[in-house]
Amino acid sequence: MSVDTQAGVSAATPSTGSVLEIRNLHVSVGEGDDAKEILRGVDLTVRSGETHAIMGPNGSGKSTLAYSIAGHPKYTITAGTVTLDGEDVLAMKVDERARAGMFLAMQYPVEVPGVSVSNFLRTAATAIKGEAPKLRTWVKDVKAEMTALEMDPAFAERNVNEGFSGGEKKRHEILQMRLLKPKIAILDETDSGLDVDALRIVSEGVNRTRAEGEVGVLLITHYTRILRYIKPDFVHVFVAGRIVEEGGPELADKLESDGYAAYVKDSNEQASAERAALEVGSA
């Protein structure tokens, strides 16, 4: 009952901020004996209006975190919770998560042959809004966003991501975010593979969304260069499946000059200590 009331209130007053809460999230990939734990207890809270940057070395589990929140079937959540405004995200199907206000700009967007971008966008917008957007304003909105992202209108008639260059795929992800207006947007390395101009264009797209409404952004990146365009409020260092340090924007600069070496070393020591403890415990 109380949940219903809350949902009603937040729908009526959209300015009421959203909050994504990740608690002690453990995730593994693979089945049975091949199962491998990738996330080892992630805690993170993202509120609307906030921008969080997650930085960490290759293979540390950043995409795993993003995909797990979005509900990719490859990942198994073994412990922990993810809630959006108190609602259990992990109990939702993939499409329900998106309709609840989650959005993931993927590191490697998927090609869907035979499905045109315009058909895809309109189908998605209809699903998210619960009704088909009015054709005239919709076409205008799509055109305007494509122009802002400096995408050729011809993309609308192409098949989803098919034959798109790396940078074009990323712009297409941001186009979707612009049109679907999520509460929480997770951007998984949207900056990688972009040249300087594209990086600026894409960043401006993200910033328009930030300026417009109360979106919470989780920005996964390797590089500080995007953080010069999109100013994070918080920076998290992600190593070996968990957040090992948190700070403000200044932490990003420190990472740029020092790298992850210190954290990786710490984390390795901790992991072996944990293993030792486990062995003692089970003996």
Partner: protein, 449 residues
């Protein structure tokens, strides 16, 4: 086998009642399941030789006789005499996939006067006539390659002929609406499409209704002509359709064939292409959608016998329901004389439910090293999980996402027809059929403990 003869055959039989879960997800992945480029391993033998027998002879005359090196793959047997093939038992290479009981009427060969109802639309520059069995035109056609085709040629006792004048530029497609009347008797038919030099035309054969139909189609394409033949099999349930389609592609001519098989109980189409002069191009497109108990078989045979020709094959099929069955055989042969050949063939099958089975056998025989390129790809599987996830992650429910993907899967080929009205009609048929999909199971979501 001569050292310069190479061959690859990839046989993939997917029977999802047993197991092919590991095929899931690879369906649309570019290059997956593909074997591209000239193969390097000489094959010990292939399943492509057809019904070779002593005294077999080459059909059509596209291949320079006498130039065939010893040890080349056996020639495919062709004959005008149905009895020269014997009566198939179902064990023959060419018949082993076909449900013999259901095709039997088309192999028994009982004479009949049954006809399809024709509704024709003939633009200016097109003539529809008929010729007798002894007309020289028929003597020059590629010969039948199996008993069914030989019976169709013989029993039809002549042929209907569509003549498209040289240099004609038609303002609309030639359309033959061919509908079955429900008769149990076999309809024997032979159609010849003669396309004059430098003409440009589209011919649509639109099959519907209930019939048992054995109908040969030969398309003779003049030099520099460009023709698209669309054959729609939108038969009523219970229909049986077997046919051999031949195309003889003239010098610098372009042939496009789009085969769309949706209806009927059993459809078995053999499409052969040969080139009568250099510089020809053939594109063979096909889509098929088999429901419960439907058998849809498409066998292709592209014979490169002259230099500098191209062929491109793209067939896509979907299957749903118990005992839905599809067979795709793609044989391409590049003879020693066919230098400068460029060929690629692709077959993809999307298995939507348990209990359906798709066979896919691409086969490439290459007898000269001097080619531009040759390759084939074949993949059979379920939905691509990554595509589903991508669409669902944008709020689209799993069932709509699946429909979008299948629709896109087919649209990719259907749009090759180039006739928007027909394309829309076919996509509507496909969509209706998709709607009949039994409640797609919910997408698995890993739950927190």
């Amino acid at each position: 086998m001569s050292p310069d003869t190479t061959s690859t055959t990839t046989t993939s039989t997917t029977d999802l009642t047993t197991d092919s879960a590991d095929l899931a997800g690879e369906l649309f992945a570019p290059g997956v399941g593909a074997q591209a480029g000239p193969p390097t391993t000489p094959a010990a033998g292939t399943g492509s030789a057809g019904q070779a027998s002593p005294g077999a002879h080459s059909h059509g005359g596209a291949a320079p006789s006498g130039a065939v090196p010893t040890g080349s793959p056996a020639e495919r047997f062709t004959s005008l005499d149905p009895d020269a093939f014997g009566v198939p038992t179902g064990r023959e290479e060419t018949w082993r996939f076909t449900p013999m009981k259901r095709i039997r009427p088309l192999l028994d060969g009982a004479a009949s006067d049954a006809h399809l109802t024709w509704v024709t639309d003939l633009p200016e520059g097109v003539e529809l006539t008929s010729v007798d069995a002894d007309d020289p035109l028929l003597k020059g056609l590629p010969e039948p390659a199996d008993r069914l085709a030989a019976l169709a040629r013989q029993r039809s006792d002549g042929a209907a002929v569509i003549r498209i004048a040289a240099e004609a530029q038609l303002d609309r497609p030639v359309t033959l609406g061919l509908s079955g009347t429900g008769s149990d008797e076999v309809v024997w038919g032979q159609l010849v499409v003669e396309v004059g030099n430098f003409a440009k035309a589209t011919v649509v054969l639109d099959h519907s209704g209930l019939a048992r139909y054995a109908g040969g189609v030969a398309v003779l394409i003049g030099d520099g002509a460009s023709v698209t033949l669309v054959s729609v099999q939108d038969w009523a349930p219970g229909a049986v359709h077997g046919a051999q389609y031949d195309a003889v592609v003239g010098r610098d001519a372009t042939y496009r064939q789009v085969v769309v098989t949706l209806g009927g109980d059993l459809v078995r189409l053999v499409s052969n292409v040969q080139y009568s002069g250099p510089g020809g191009s053939a594109e063979l497109f096909g889509v098929y959608f088999a429901d419960e108990t439907q058998h849809q078989e498409h066998r292709l045979w592209v014979d490169h016998g002259v230099p500098n020709c191209r062929s491109n094959v793209k067939y896509k099929g979907a299957l749903q329901g118990e005992d839905a069955r599809t067979v795709w055989i793609g044989d391409v042969r590049i003879r020693p004389a066919a230098t400068g050949t460029e060929t690629y063939e692709l077959n993809r099958n999307l298995v939507l439910t348990d209990g359906a089975r798709a066979d896919s056998v691409p086969n490439l025989e290459i007898e000269t090293g001097e080619i531009v390129g040759a390759g084939h790809a074949s993949a059979t599987g379920r939905f691509d999980d990554e595509q589903l996830f991508y669409l669902c992650s944008r709020g689209i429910d799993a069932e709509t996402a699946r429909r979008l993907v299948v629709r896109g899967f087919f649209a990719d080929v259907v749009q090759e027809i180039g006739l928007p009205e027909l394309q829309d009609r076919l996509m509507r048929v496909i969509e209706t059929r998709l709607g009949a999909l039994p409640g797609l199971e919910e997408q698995p979501v890993e739950q927190a403990s």
